[in-house]
Structure formats: C-alpha cells, structure tokens
C-alpha cells in the first residue's frame, strides 16, 4: 500500500495542467477512433488477433509498467540498493523469453482466447472454472488497488481529494475500454510507454547530476550503506545476512523461476497482449520485443531510488516523514521545472490508468468468454457476447471503484488479499508446464495441482513463516520460499493424481501438448517474417545474453 508523505505537493502550474489535459483528450480520442474497428466479440476482447508485434510488445511491457511498479521498484532501490536488478534481469527476462519461445506456440496455435480457456482444452471444466473465477476476482481487486494508489499519489502531488481522483480516473478507463475494447487499451499502453520514458529519463539524468554522477552516487552510498548495497550478489551466500533477506538459491528458484514464470507466463493481463498479435511469429515476438526495454527500465527506477537514498538519507526511517515509495515524487519535486514536471505527472497518471485498464480488459474477456458464455448463457449469437462484454466492462470498472473505496478504509485487508491471490499464480505455472510437456497428465490432475500448490504456498507463508516455525528474515524472503514450496507441492500432487485417474484422450490433445502437432493448426509464415531480426530464437537468446552481461558490472 502506498502512503505518501505530506509535503510532497508539486509546484504545478497552468502549463503542466495543459499537458495533462491534452493527454486525457488523446486517451478518449483513441477510444472513440478505435470504435469503428469493433465488429465482433473477438475484436473487442482480442483486437481480432490482428495487431503487429511492436505494438503488442510495447503494450506487453507497459501493462506491467504500472505506477505501483514504478514507485514500488524505485522504493525497492532506495531500500535494498542494487539488488533491485534481480526483479528485472533474473525475475523477468528468462520468463518472458520462455513464454515467447516455448509456450506461445501452444497458446497461439490452439486459438484460445484466454489463459483459463487453455486449461479447459488441456484439462477439464473444474480447473477452468476455478482459475477463471479466481482470475476475475483478482483482476478487480488489483484494478481497485491501482485506483486507490493513484488517488493517494494524486492527493499528495496535486492536492485533489481522493474520491475525485478515484471517480475521474475510473470513468476515463470505463469510457475508453467500453468504447474501443482491447485495441483502445493496447494503443493507450503503447502511448503510455513513451510518455513514462519521457518522464523518467530527464529525472534520472538530473538525479545523477545532482549527486555527482554514478561515481559520486556510489561513493556516497558506499560510505553510508556499505558495499553490499551496490552489489547484486554480495552477501547472498546461504546463511549470510543481506537487506533482502534472501540467498542466491531462493533468489534464483523462488523469484527467478517460480514467481516470475508464474506471473509472466500465466497472468492473462500480460498474455492477452500476445494473443492479440496478428500471427504466430508476432505473438512469439511480443514478449521478446518487450524484454529489451525491460532490461533497461531498471536503470530508470533504480537510479532515482538510489539518488533518493543519498539526497534524503533518512528516507524510510520513522520520523523522517518520508516513505521509500516517495523516492520518485521527492525527486520530481526537487528537480523538475514546470513543463517536464507536467510530462512526469502525466506519465504517472497514465501508468496508473494503464495498470488498471490492463486488469479491466483482461477481466471482461475472462468473465464473458470463460464464465458467462461457457456456463451461464451458452450458444447466443456473437453480437450478444459483444454487448455483454461492454456491459461487464462497465460493471467491472464500477466494482473496482468500489474496491478502491473499500481499500481506502481497510488497506491492511487489501494487502492481505493481494498476498492471497499472489499465491495462486505459483501453481498455475506448474500446471501449465506439466500440462504442456507431459501427455499423460490426467484431466483431474489440473485442478488438484492448483488447489494443492496454492494451499501449500499459503500454509508455508501464513503458518510456517508468520507463526515463526522457521525463521526467515523478511516478507520478501518468505515470499520466495513460499513460491518454491507451492511449486513442488503442486507438481507432486499432479503426478500422484495422474497415476490414479484417466488421461485426456490423445485426439483432444493435438496442438496442446509438446510432441502432438496437428496438421490443420499450421499456418504459412507471413511475408518478411523470415528476416534475421524477426527470428524469435535470436531475439530471445539475445535478451538472455544481454541481461547476463548487465549483471557483470554489479557482480565484481
């Protein structure tokens, strides 16, 4: 939860407000202009599977680049130092590359419209219904939390009352998604991506200048926080203490493997962007194109975080009046003159709205195609589902506005619920990976893997860690361990259940499981897709090598 300190009010003027107003007009304009392209439910939910790879790729990275992520990762930088790079180089890139190279062919060729729909094809209705309902709840919850976080930031920076910010931002998102569907959401995400870069790059440059460049920054931090603060891996040997409260094994397995693969490869708010691409090659390249900006964005959040730790050495400590989350707003206030300041505020607002819109646009798809059309009102004409999709978008936004208001009075409950839902992502990944690579995995094993993995992760977190049965230094470290426990439990239960229950008939698995190609799913490669720079393998391995190289200066 964000609580921004008072006294961060920005000296915005008419120029900054004009910049913001232009942005809001453009956002709505995109919604209205996209309306003409929405003819079927597939247009509304998946942009008709027709967008180019660079658009879906930038939307893929922007859907994750919400303001909670930007402020939160700068906070992690101010608190833990250079270790924040783990969330990018090991905690995102390998999973994104795996999604593009290994999983996307199964997702895209099977023509599923959502992640739960894949579970329906591969396993059975119980796995499908369970994951659909949980995803729908989680999406509304996260959209509401985003909205609440936005209202706190807007109140602190601009002085608007919280309820005004919640209602205004909520209505904007409602309008542009109800009208223009996923195309409108994705186009706005691409725009947001560039605006947020235009906000963070000047901030990073001025921040570095202020503390005497990277050398000045590292000298000051070396003196005040010690050497480990500036190194990615120092102090992470098993048994050693470090601020993160995690060792190399839990970082690699817990964060890098289980948590990150769970999020990037099975979270529909992300995968949806790739499913809207125009062909298999573009779908595969979506997360791979996203990986390259993702590698470098860490500098734009880490450096402001580190600069804040130098400029305000007491940040995050009781009595300083500043939280770690204040790192970026603090520098905005200190360094940006009117003009660029307006761009920066617009960038933050855009990021909040895009973070919320990504959840709303994935929620409406799952609720309509996976829940309503599958279990409630079957076999209606397509126009009915398109209308219903628009209606449920409005309902979803209103529900998240409600959630935001609940969050403003019970923020602890919300934090708790988010932790609960985060544990559901872990077994999703194990169910997918076993389902995609082991033909024998039975129909019933899916749902039991999900239930067992989620329960084990929760048991580990809330009982073994919170009750102090085993001592883990920080929440962060406990999260990593819980993820590993959930993964192993889900895998074991799937194998055991499979041994006692019936497999899915082989004919129904064509194209869903590794080694079961089905001839009518093949498509001709599009013209130009055989160019070397469009080869998924080259892009994917290039991203992995680049991320590994980035570690070198922070590891010696």
């Amino acid at each position: 939860m964000h609580t921004l300190a008072a006294g961060l009010r920005l000296p915005t003027n008419g120029l900054d407000y004009a910049i913001m107003a232009i942005y809001f007009v453009v956002v709505l304009g995109i919604g209205f202009a996209a309306r003409a392209s929405v003819k079927t439910s597939l247009d509304f939910f998946l942009s008709g599977r027709s967008l180019p790879a660079w658009v879906t790729g930038l939307a893929f990275v922007a859907a994750n680049l919400g303001a909670t992520e930007i402020l939160g990762m700068a906070a992690t930088g101010a608190q833990y130092g250079v270790a924040v790079v783990h969330w990018y180089w090991i905690g995102a890139i390998p999973a994104m590359v795996f999604l593009g190279l290994v999983m996307m062919p199964f997702y895209y060729k099977s023509k599923v419209r959502s992640v739960p729909e894949f579970l329906l094809q591969r396993f059975d209705k119980s796995a499908h219904l369970l994951s659909s309902i949980l995803f729908a709840f989680a999406a509304i919850l996260i959209a509401g939390v985003n909205l609440y976080a936005l209202s706190i930031v807007v109140e602190a920076l601009l002085g608007w009352p919280q309820w005004v910010a919640i209602v205004v931002a909520g209505l904007f998102v409602l309008l542009y998604i109800t009208i223009g569907g996923l195309s409108s959401a994705i186009y706005n995400e691409v725009l947001q991506f560039f605006v947020i870069l235009a906000a963070l790059i000047p901030l990073t440059i001025l921040g570095l200048k202020k503390v005497g460049g990277w050398d000045g920054l590292s000298d000051s931090l070396e003196k005040s926080h010690g050497h480990n603060f500036l190194s990615a891996w120092d102090g992470t040997a098993i048994g050693q203490a470090n601020p993160l409260g995690a060792n190399w094994l839990t970082i690699i397995l817990g964060l890098g493997f289980v948590l990150s693969f769970g999020y990037w490869t099975t979270n529909f708010a992300e995968v949806q962007r790739a499913l809207s691409a125009k062909n298999l090659s573009a779908a595969q390249r979506t997360p791979l194109i996203a990986a390259f900006p993702k590698i470098f964005i860490v500098f734009l959040v880490m450096i402001p975080g580190l600069v804040a730790a130098v400029v305000a050495p007491k940040i995050g400590l009781a009595g300083s009046g500043l939280q770690y989350n204040d790192a970026i707003p603090l520098l905005m206030q200190d360094l940006l003159p009117n003009g660029v300041l307006g761009i920066a505020v617009t960038g933050l607002l855009a990021a909040f709205m895009a973070g919320m819109a990504a959840n709303v646009s994935s929620f409406n798809t799952v609720f309509t195609t996976d829940i309503w059309a599958r279990y409630v009102k079957k076999d209606k004409p397509d126009a009915y589902y398109l209308r219903f999709g628009r209606l449920i978008t409005a309902v979803g936004v209103l529900a998240s506005i409600g959630t935001a208001f609940i969050a403003s009075s019970f923020s602890n409950i919300m934090a708790y619920l988010q932790t609960l839902f985060s544990f559901f992502n872990v077994p999703m990944f194990v169910v997918f990976i076993i389902g995609m690579f082991w033909k024998r995995a039975s129909m019933k094993s899916g749902v039991w893997g999900l239930v067992a993995g989620t329960s084990a992760a929760m048991l580990n977190y809330f009982w073994i860690y919170k009750q102090g049965v085993i001592s883990i230094p920080t929440d962060q470290g406990a999260n990593f361990v819980s993820a590993i426990v959930g993964f192993v439990a889900g895998a074991v239960v799937m194998v055991v259940v499979t041994l006692f229950t019936a497999p899915k008939p082989e004919a129904e698995l064509a194209g869903l499981v590794y080694g079961t190609e089905s001839a009518d799913l093949e498509e001709e490669p599009a013209e130009g897709d055989d160019a070397w720079y469009r080869k998924p393998a080259l892009l994917g391995w290039g991203a992995i090598v680049l991320a590994a190289l980035c570690y070198i200066p922070y590891s010696i």
Binding site: L15, V26, K39, T40, F194, I201, K210, P337, N338, G339
Partner: protein, 93 residues
C-alpha cells in the same frame, strides 16, 4: 478441428480490426510533436530559477527537442512504411 477452433476461426474471418483500426504511429507522432513544441518553448523561455532547480541543465529544452524528434520519427516511419490494409476476403455468406 475442435469446436473452439471453428468458433474462433469464424470470428477471425468476420473481424474488422485489421481493416478498420487506425495506425497508432499517427497518434504517437502527433502527441509527441505537440508535446515537443510545448516543452521546447518552455525551455527557450526558461527562467534562472528553472535552470537552478534542474542542476544548471536546460532540461525542458533537451526533453522538448528529444520528444519532438521521437514524434517526427513516428510520422516519417508512417509516411515511409504505411500499412496496407488486407484485401477483404470474399464474404462467407
């Protein structure tokens, strides 16, 4: 072919996005040219207080010019490589 496959393929055939969705490069280009001009002007008219706040760098000028360049890049790209709308398939009815 599975049920799902038939259903989604039929929807794909009727989809209008590829033919009717406008090109986002026009919007990015337009917005960044406008932003670039506004922020560059703010940079040209920067006060001493603005410069002092931004560590002696005329950050509005540089950011404005960079945004202008990005906007022009998108407009030129659009001009040089326009998207050819797909030939409409013969109606299935």
């Amino acid at each position: 072919m599975s049920e799902l496959h038939k259903e989604v393929s039929a929807l794909e055939a009727k989809s209008a996005t590829a033919a009717r969705l406008f090109d986002i490069r026009r919007i990015i280009g337009g917005l960044f040219v406008v932003y670039g001009i506004i922020v560059t002007i703010a940079g040209i008219m920067a006060s001493d207080a603005d410069l002092k706040k931004a560590q002696g760098i005329n950050i509005n000028l540089w950011t404005g010019l960079a945004m202008l360049a990005l906007g022009l890049f998108f407009l030129i790209w659009l001009k040089l490589r326009p998207v050819v709308p797909p030939t409409p398939p013969t109606p299935a009815e």
